[in-house]
Every structure is written in structure tokens, then in C-alpha cells.
């Protein structure tokens, strides 16, 4: 049910041994975890340069699965901060 999707940050730490994770790598991980039906356009952004992680639209059930994925440190909602 993609109507109930929200945007989440999936933080995966540093790039493993300097290997940069690409969007296609993140989509592959998501498909392995959630299922092959995961639509690639739900991956909104991959952090590629300084650390590993991505931004994706996920359902609550998917968040649970992704949180248990190997290599995932945290999954949290894409919240809003404010200028001070």
C-alpha cells in the first residue's frame, strides 16, 4: 500500500572499505529485503560520497524489514529541522 508510505532515512555508516555504494546497490538491497516489487523510484536519494545510506519512501512494514537488514545502523523518519 504505497499510499501509506513516508520518507525515511536509512543510515548505514561508512562506505565499506572505501567502496562507494551506488543507487543500484541500494535498490538491490531493498529488493532483496522487501521483495522484487519494490519500485526503484521509491529510492529518492543515495548518499554516495562521504558515508553510506539512502532516502526512500517506505511503509511501516518495510521500515521494520529494512531496520533488520544487515549493515543498517538506523532508520528514522525524514523529519524537518528549523533555522535558529
Amino acid at each position: 500500500n504505497y499510499d501509506s508510505q513516508k520518507t525515511y532515512i536509512v543510515y548505514m555508516g561508512s562506505h565499506s572499505k572505501g567502496k562507494v555504494s551506488t543507487s543500484s546497490h541500494h535498490i538491490r538491497l531493498l529488493k532483496e529485503t522487501i521483495g522484487s516489487s519494490f519500485p526503484p523510484h521509491s529510492l529518492l536519494h543515495s548518499f554516495k560520497r562521504s558515508f553510506n545510506g539512502f532516502v526512500a519512501k517506505l511503509t511501516e512494514a518495510e521500515v521494520k524489514k529494512v531496520s533488520e537488514m544487515e549493515g543498517v545502523i538506523s532508520v528514522f523518519p525524514n523529519g524537518k529541522k528549523q533555522l535558529h
Partner: protein, 628 residues
Amino acid sequence: TTRSWDFMGFSEQVKRVPAVESNVIVGVLDSGIWPESPSFDHAGYGSPPAKWKGSCEVSANFSCNNKIIGARSYRSNGEYPEGDIKGPRDSDGHGTHTASIVAGGLVRRASMLGLGLGTARGGVPSARIAAYKVCWSDGCSDADILAAFDDAIADGVDIISGSLGGSGARDYFNDSIAIGSFHAMKKGILTSLAVGNNGPDFTTIVNFSPWSLSVAASTTDRKFETKVELGDGREFSGVSVNTFDIKGKQIPLVYAGDIPKAPFDSSVSRLCFENTVDLKLVKGKIVVCDSLTVPGGVVAVKGAVGIIMQDDSSHDDTNSFPIPASHLGPKAGALVLSYINSTNSIPTATIKKSTERKRKRAPSVASFSSRGPNPITPNILKPDLSGPGVEILAAWSPVSPPSGAEEDNKRVLYNIISGTSMACPHVTAAAAYVKSFHPTWSPSALKSALITTAFPMSPKHNPDKEFGYGAGHINPLGAVHPGLIYDASEIDYVQFLCGQGYTTELLQLVSEDNNTCSSNNSDTVFDLNYPSFALSTNISKPINQVYKRTVTNVGSKYATYKATVINPWKNLEIKVNPSVLSFKNLGEKQSFEVTIRGKIRKDIESASLVWDDGKHKVRSPITVFIAN
């Protein structure tokens, strides 16, 4: 900045290393930048430093120069709020303000319509700016903040300044800013962050990771006074940033409590909430309200010529307004109301243009500045230190109303605003200044230098003590020569995180090293080589806490430092072992322990440790406080 740098003794003539300073790149995560501001004039700047790997989001109406060497915007959802300018151009003004505080060039005779006249300047005027626009009129998303950190770290910035934050505390790896600043630290980049504007309540601080620098806001010795003169000649001093000059014209005065709009009565209309005041009766008048409103709040008295606000709220949270405005204290406010009720003629008043005055007892922590203790790790003192954040004049976007209110028709190149947002870039600049003398120093070494050399602030005038000001007020000149530094590496922070409940497996992902947690004991916090000492305790619990620290000699090759503990509390015994450290080389490290014993008797008991070699005083705050 026409006063803030001079206030801390950081004059235009301070010693600099221009060739190094011009190689310093400051990454500013904010609302973008206005490149045509006089503060960012690139005349005299050479090409970007060779290390720069970033880019500029060039468009028909935006380009970078040798001052602003990089600029990018981030909007992960692709939907832009109405009225915002796409791309890195700053349609708000905030990002232009903060960037110019850090690294704006010198601009003579800068002012906000005559107020705050002087030379506007950044703390490191030769440094280069890389602007990362992550904030829009609807806020700053975590996804965009992380994307900007991802780029800034790889682009080769030296320091990151972030005058933004969330509304509550989150665990370190559930917070985009803590994550981003951790990876910055790993690459040798210090992140300086504003603690937030939710003071003066305790535990309101929002950026508190130990690898970043958490900055509170304090006053300078300049304040703006806005006088109100009544028709009977009596004059009262209020505060606001009032650029309007109505030439002393006496204007009919009306009390909002006397003109309620149905169904509301006086008890509501007096506070000037929107739609509670009869707007037909405010037209052409100055309205007196019994509360301090935000600039946009004047919509409640739409059509009024001016607004006089009176209540007992703090007088350091000043704003400019779309109409002439002044904020009076309750005593003056009562006299104004008594005049309205008692005069035999039509009550009148005028609101004068603000004037500069000397503020006594400066610096003191701004009432709005968020307070500690650290909500996640109370045994790490936060904030770290404070910087000027009240009534700061700096560059502004000329498309944005200076008061932030839609009704404001003024447009300015320099604006006077307050916030921990303004304090943060002062400290970022101080860190960049220190780095220009010591380019190889780690983020924690820069932090240590700033913290241990901070000017002490008065606990008498700042009752929240270290939870308001941390170690005290930044002292950029002193921080260049700290004598000793408390350095910490990525591994030290990882060991700290072990004690915070993170597992070896998880931390190996974060740090990409094969570190293992030698201890998951929460006491690892006391061994993190932090330049301050905090202890959260219980009133009934006897204290016996040991802190391990290591200092590195960066002062004189041969130096003997003696420890002095300034401890006014007889109930607490604070010992340092050894109490004398003798160095024979620069870069030499020596370790010591601080032991605190006794029982706490007050909510917050402050002491300090000073290592003194006769030339340097390396001061660390010690704060023992009751949990909760």
C-alpha cells in the same frame, strides 16, 4: 558584527596568516546565499584553493565567485514552496546573515537603515564560503541536511557551520546533524552548531553530540533602545530594533483591552491575538498590547501606525517590526495604561527611532538560548561555549523582509537579528581563525582550544551557569595559544559510544575500523578526553567519580603546568593527580585524573580546573548537578 568582534577584543588589526586563511573553506548549511551582497565582494581573492572539489549550481541568475566558491541547493522531494527561489540563492536572508558573520569581507559604514552603523566583517574575512542550501520556507529536511553533509565533507571544506536544529533530542545515529558531523569529524572537519532558541528551560538543547561544537547565544555590550514619549511629555525606554522615524509626531493612543472584537472581551483583546481586536478602532493609532508579539503578529492590529507592547518577558529577545514598535517593561507599561485612562485629552504617544546604548553586564546568556544539560549524555557538558547572538548586524537578502513579516515592506542589505544561529557562525569563524594558525589540528583540538580559553562568564548574572554558557564566551585571540589541548580521535568517540549502548558490530559499520568495544560500561563517558567535566548525580547519593584525561603540550617546549581547582563548595572535594605536569617537548602527551567526592547540596555546583604554566591558563569547567 559591527560590534560583536570588537566586543571580544578581536579587532580588525589582529594578527592573521592571510595566505593560510584564504585557503580555509567554510561550509555553511543554511538557507542559501545572496552572492551580490557587498560582504561577498570577491575583489582581491585568488582562485579557489586547490583542495576544493565542490561545485557551483550555476543558473541564469546565480553564479559563484572567488569568495563564494561553491553553492548548491538540496530539495529531495522536488517540490518547492511557493515564493522560494530555486537554486542556492537565499530568498530568506538567514543564510546570507550567517555566512557573512563567519567569512564576510569588510564593509565600511554598514547599517540597518542607520542602526548599528560600523564596519561589518566576518571573523575570517579572507576565507572562502561554500553555501549548502538545505533550508526552505517550510524548514530543513533531514534528507537534505545529510545530502549536504555528504557533499561538504567530500568537497574539501575545512569547517562546517550549522545554525539549524530539530525540536527535540534524538539519539546520535537517529539525528541527521549528529550523523553528518560525525563523518565530518572522521575527515578532520569540525562542525559548529547552534544549540537552539528554546531557552531558558533546562534540557532544551538540540545539538549536543560530543564530536561537534555546541554554541549558545549571549549579549554584547551594545543594545538598542526604543523610546516611547507620551503626550504629557513623559518618556519611557523600551527595546526593539525600530528603524522608523516618525519625527516625534504625537499619534492617538489606544489600549487593545479597550477595543475588543466580539465575541472576545478585554481579557483577550488586550493580548493582541489575531482577530480579537476591532481593527476599525486601531486605524491611524498606536496600539498598546499586554504581550510581546512576533513581528508577524502585528497583523492583529492591521492599520495601526505603531505598536507598544508591555509585559515582563525578557528584554533580549528583540525584533524589528513592519511598523514602529517598542517593548516596555511592566512598570512603564502600567504608567502608559494609567495615562490612557486618566488623561483629560485624547491620549497620544510617539515611538522614536532606536538608538544604540551600552549594555551593562555583558556578556550574559540570552534568555532564548537553549540550555543544557545534555539530554542524551548528561555527563558530557553542553553547550560547549557561547558567542554573540543578540542584535547582530550582518548581510541580508534584499528580497526578504527584515522582520520576516509579510507585511514588512522594508528591504535592506544589512539586518539586525538575534538567535543562536548568529552565535554559531561567530564560533565557526573563531575555529577557522585558530585553524589558520594550526592547519593540522584535529576537530577536537580546535574545540579544546576554544573551550579552555573561553572568557569566564558570571554565574551570578547567569543563574543557569554552565547549562547556559558552557565554558564561557569565545576568545578567538586566546584560542590560538591554548597551551594544552585535550585531543580526541575517532577511536575515542567510538569507545565513548560503546558505553552509550552501541554494539561493536554497529560501531564497526560507522567507523570502518575493526575497533571493538573493550567496555560497554556507561562509565566510558568519564574517560572521553573532553575539555570539560560534567557529573549528573542524585542529591542523596555520595559522589566518587574519577575522570581520566590526557593533555598535549602545544605551548612552550619546556613547560611545567600546575593544577589549580577553583571550588567554592565545601561539600565537594575535587582532586587532580598528578597536580603538576612537566613537558619537555611540543606534542608531548601527559595524563592525569580528576576525582570528585562528596555530596551535592544545590541544583548546580560549578567549579573549574585550571592548568597554569605562568603563560597559559587552560581552564575547564566542572559542573556537578542533580539529575532531572
